[in-house]
Each structure stands twice: as C-alpha cells, then as structure tokens.
Amino acid sequence: MKEILLNPQLWSATLAMATPLALPALGGTFSERSGVVNIAMEGIMLIAAFFAVLFAHLTGSAWLGLLGAIVVGMIVAVIFAWAAVTLTADQVILGMAINIFASGFTAYLLNTIFGFSGTPTDTPMLPNINIPVIKNIPFIGQILSGNSVIVYLMIILIFASNYFLFHTNLGLRIRAVGENPEAAETAGINVIKLRYLGVALSGLFSAIGGAYLSIGLLNSFSTDMSSGRGYIALAAMIFGKWTPFGSFGAALLFGFATALSMQLQNSAMSKNIIMMLPYILTVLALVGVGGKSVSPAADGVPYTPKK
C-alpha cells in the first residue's frame, strides 16, 4: 500500500482524472446557483471535445481548438438556456435531449468529416506545462509539474470562481436569483439575464472540460468519450455543496479513487470489484461526512417574470 501511495503516478492520475470532473462541476455550480439544473453538461462536453479537435485540426493550433470548443459549447448552453429560462421548459428533459443529440451529432460528424479511421493523428495537443522550481523537487515535482495547461487553468478557475461567486456583486446577484428569483426581481435585478449568464458559464466550463479530454489529455476524438463525466460532475457539485472548492474536493476524491483502482489492478482481486471502488468510496464519504447538501432554493424551478 505504501508503495502505491508513494507512486507519483497515483497522484498525477488523481489530478488528471479529477480535472474533467471538476470543470463541469464548477460550471454546474454557476448554473445551479442561478437556479438552472444543467444535465446537458455531459452533452456539451462531448460536443466541445469534438469541436476542439476539429478546430485544432483545421487551424493547426490547439489554442484555437480550445477557443472553438468554448464558442460552440457556449452556443449550445445558450440554446439550452433559451428553452429552459425563456420558454420555462423542464430542465432535466432538455438536458437529456441535448445529451442524446450530442451523442448522435458528434458521431455523425466524426464519420462524415473524418471517416472511420478517426480524427487526424497530427491534431495538435494543448501543451503540458513545466513549472520551473517545482519541477525539480522529487515526488512533488512529478505530481505538480508537467501537467496539461488545462489542469493549471482549472486551478486558477476554481479560485476565480470562488471569488466571483462569493465576493463580487454579480456573484451575489447570481446566488440571489437561484435562491429567490422573485425577491431578486423586486430588488431590481434582471433574473432572466443572470440565469442565461449562469448557464453560459456552465457551458464555458463544460466546454473546457470537454476540450481537456480530446486535446488536453489526448489529441483525438472518439464517440461518447465523455463517458458519463457530466453526470458524475453533477454528483461532485452536489457533494461539494454547490461551491467551487467543494466541487473540486469531491472531484479530487473521485479522481483519487479512480487512480487508486488503476493502481490496484495488479492485485489478485477481481478487476470488476476493484472498479467499483470510486463509486463505493464516494457513497461512504458522503454518508460519513454527513451533513445535508441543501440546494439553492429555486434550483430547477423555472421563473416567469410577472406581467
């Protein structure tokens, strides 16, 4: 066991597997704090993952790939917001619809644009970053340095999100809208606009998460490669009590359990039992930590402004 814990790969895998959960969990935090349940994050990740590769391939720049993914992801998010906020449709149904759409749409585009052998192998990847001093520290350096640029971006975004949500006026307004939209409106706040903002941010973060999968960790797209991370991110966000640090913590826990199950594969235990580890650990942690997760009071409830 000690050997496993001292293997830096355990910890860098933890970080690598936590990143594509933490990003959408962060996005979901914004969306749900503004009162919109966004299950479509799974689909947005997938679509973004595809367009990241497409744009990176077309432009020859991974950065433009990331940018393209973000733009497309936010467009999908805004379409979702339009139906969920303006048309007050059921948010969960819409989310599921977008996920089905995304799965088919990306697979279809993959075939028609790139054919069956998959996305081009010369697709550029986002760079890994070596941090000057830290990289020379043994063990720590192997974990904290040399990760994808998105990992560092994520860490910055977590702090930025926390600041934005809890220490700015706009953040205060977003939270107010998710708690009691009527009260927010009577305080002169435009509820609809802020909900669009919350959802758009969830699109932004999910898109970065999707791009991380396709051009951060890899340089290819394959069908359904988000493989349920959007849903698990939802769980991480709830576990984290709708806060950026909490979401990150829950994502780390899940990433750690996944990384651990990878390390344990060489033990005699059934591989399938080992692969239950992240899920069982999450439930145990949740029950152990206890404490109710109280969602924003107006989460998931469409709001119609008075007329």
């Binding site: 069956f116 960790l217 594969q265 060489n266």
Partner: protein, 329 residues
C-alpha cells in the same frame, strides 16, 4: 492491380452479366451496440462489406443497433427483405442469430466471434487472436532484451483490456504466453479499463503501468486503446496496436499491431456465398489462413527479432505450439 480491375467492372454494370447479378445480391450488416466507430470489429466488418461493394459489385446495407433488444428486430428486417447474407457482429448476438436463422432458413448468416454450429445457414467466424497475441508477445519479450532509448532496464511489459470478455482475453492470454516463451522473467501487467469508449481512462491506465516499469504497452480496448497509444507516445515508449494496423496513429510508437482480419472474414464469406460455396458452422480464422497476424513492425524492431517471431508463427501454424486463450491470473 486486381482492385482496379474489379472496380472497373462494377462501374460498368452492363459489361457483364456478373455485375448486374451481383447487384441483386444483398448483404446486410448489423453492428452491435458499439457502433461503426468502435475502432474494432464493427468497423472492420463494415470495411469488409464496403470492400465487397467496391470489388464485387454487391449491394450492401447496414444498421447500427442502439440496444440489445434491437438485434432480433434488425436481423429480422434484413431477412424479411430477402437479403442474401446477413452479418451479425459480436458474440452478444448469438441468441438473436439462432432465433432468426431458424425463422429464415433461406437466408445465410455470418456471425463474428461466436460459435453457432448447428444451423445449415449460419457460419460462425472465430478468430484465433490468441495466436497473434502470442506473436506480438514474443516480439515484446524479445524487445525487452534490447537496449535503445525507449526501453528501460526493467523487464516489464503491460497489456490493457477493455472488458474481461473472450475476444479481449484471447489477445491477452496469447500475449502473456508469447512474452513468457522468450523471456520467462518478464513481468506482464494486466489491467482493464472497464469500458471501450473512454480513452482518457485508457491513457491513465497506461501511464500507471508505465510508472510500474512497463515500456511496451499493448492496448486491447477499442477506443480506450487510443489513450494507451497516446500515453506511450507521450512517455516515449512502445505501444502495440490491436485489430487493425494502428501504426498510423503514432508511427514511431506503435511498433506493431496484432491483426484480427474481420474485414477479410466478411469479404471472404460474401464471396463464398456468391460463389455458392458457403460453409456453415465454425470457420476458423487463424495464422494458417491468414485470418490473424501481426502488422509489419517499425524499423526499431531488429530483423533478428522479426525472424524469431516468424519462426514462432510457423510453429503455431504447424501445431507445434498450442496457444491457450485463457488469461493467466
């Protein structure tokens, strides 16, 4: 040369009676839920029927199943529409093929990776992938004794499966035996990603094995295997591809690939039905009939090793070496 000739033939339907006759010959393909992009047998089967369309002028069509309950329905649709040959991809369709083939005795069926023997109108293509797994294992075992920039001095190789299912495990079993045959001290790490569609976890799994000393990793995990190759490339070690020649994905990294020629199997079966010598029951695809094999290694692999591998291939073909398809725990 041969290809261009047949192409010409099919593009001129009136030139011979053969082509127009073939045009009325209909082949239907039902994929399993993995779909046509699985970078694995569904895709290869599809390539096989496309080849038949281009070279033999037959009419082809395919359905991607969305869920397991679609199998019977989809097979039935083809049979009802009087398709001459219906191809079912994957052992999961065994029950469905058994059921539908009984209802439509005039339709011929081919099922990939299964073992239906008691139907006159069903052929089961079984691939001895333990044999090609063995050969790439031999190659890996021998490479471990080499010294070059990509190889470390630990004697460890790794194999990463998708799920613990026979078409995956036969590769892994062969690989294990092949490595041990030439290098008994080599440690063979075996892991599973638990799915075929998550390259991110494939990559982390490979990185984990690399951190445990592996410098050659063999991915048998469909799309998740893409991540294995990516990890190998990033860490500057070797990868081994699976099913098709995956060298194009990372030319300096993928030292060879274990081949499972599902495309050949489907093409040949279509041809056999056309030529009226369809054989029902188990049809083995192995080294002997070139149904499995390994892709041309990159130049990092010394010719001496390639020769050694070919020697083993010969011994498998002539039965001197028997390869088991059971994974060693």
């Amino acid at each position: 040369g041969c290809t261009s000739k047949t192409k010409q033939q099919s593009s001129q339907p009136n030139s011979t009676g053969q082509a127009s006759k073939n045009k009325n010959f209909k082949v239907g393909l039902v994929t399993d839920v993995g779909g046509i992009n699985d970078h694995s047998f569904n895709q290869l089967a599809y390539q096989g029927i496309e080849k038949a369309k281009n070279e033999l002028g037959v009419t082809v069509n395919f359905i991607q199943s969305k869920q397991q309950t679609d199998y019977v329905t989809n097979l039935t649709q083809f049979a009802q529409q009087k398709y001459n040959l219906v191809i079912a991809v994957g052992y999961l369709m065994k029950d469905a093929v058994e059921q539908v083939s009984k209802e439509f005795p005039d339709t011929k069926f081919l099922i990939i990776d299964s073992d239906i023997t008691d139907r006159p109108n069903v052929a089961s293509a079984t691939f001895k992938t333990e044999q090609c797994g063995y050969l790439v294992g031999v190659m890996a075992g021998l490479m471990e004794k080499e010294k070059n920039a990509k190889l470390n001095d630990q004697n460890v190789v790794g194999v990463i499966g998708g799920m613990q299912i026979p078409p995956v495990d036969s590769y892994i079993a062969g690989f294990q035996q092949g490595v041990k045959a030439v290098n008994p001290d080599t440690k063979v790490l075996v892991s599973y990603t638990g799915n075929f569609n998550d390259p991110a976890s494939g990559k982390q799994m490979a990185l984990t094995q690399i951190s445990q000393g592996a410098d050659i990793v063999f991915g048998v995990a469909g799309q998740a295997g893409d991540g294995v190759i990516n990890a190998a490339k990033e860490k500057n070690i070797y990868a081994i591809g699976v099913d098709a020649d995956q060298n194009y994905m990372a030319p300096d990294t993928v030292m060879t690939s274990a081949l499972k020629k599902v495309d050949t199997a489907t093409f040949d079966t279509i041809k056999s039905v056309l030529d009226n010598n369809f054989k029902s029951g188990l049809v083995y695809f192995d080294l002997a009939n070139d149904g499995v094999g390994y892709a041309k290694p990159i130049k990092d692999v010394p010719q001496s090793i390639v020769d050694k591998v070919d020697e083993y291939a010969k011994q498998i073909k002539d039965g001197t070496i028997k390869v088991s398809d059971q994974v060693q725990k």
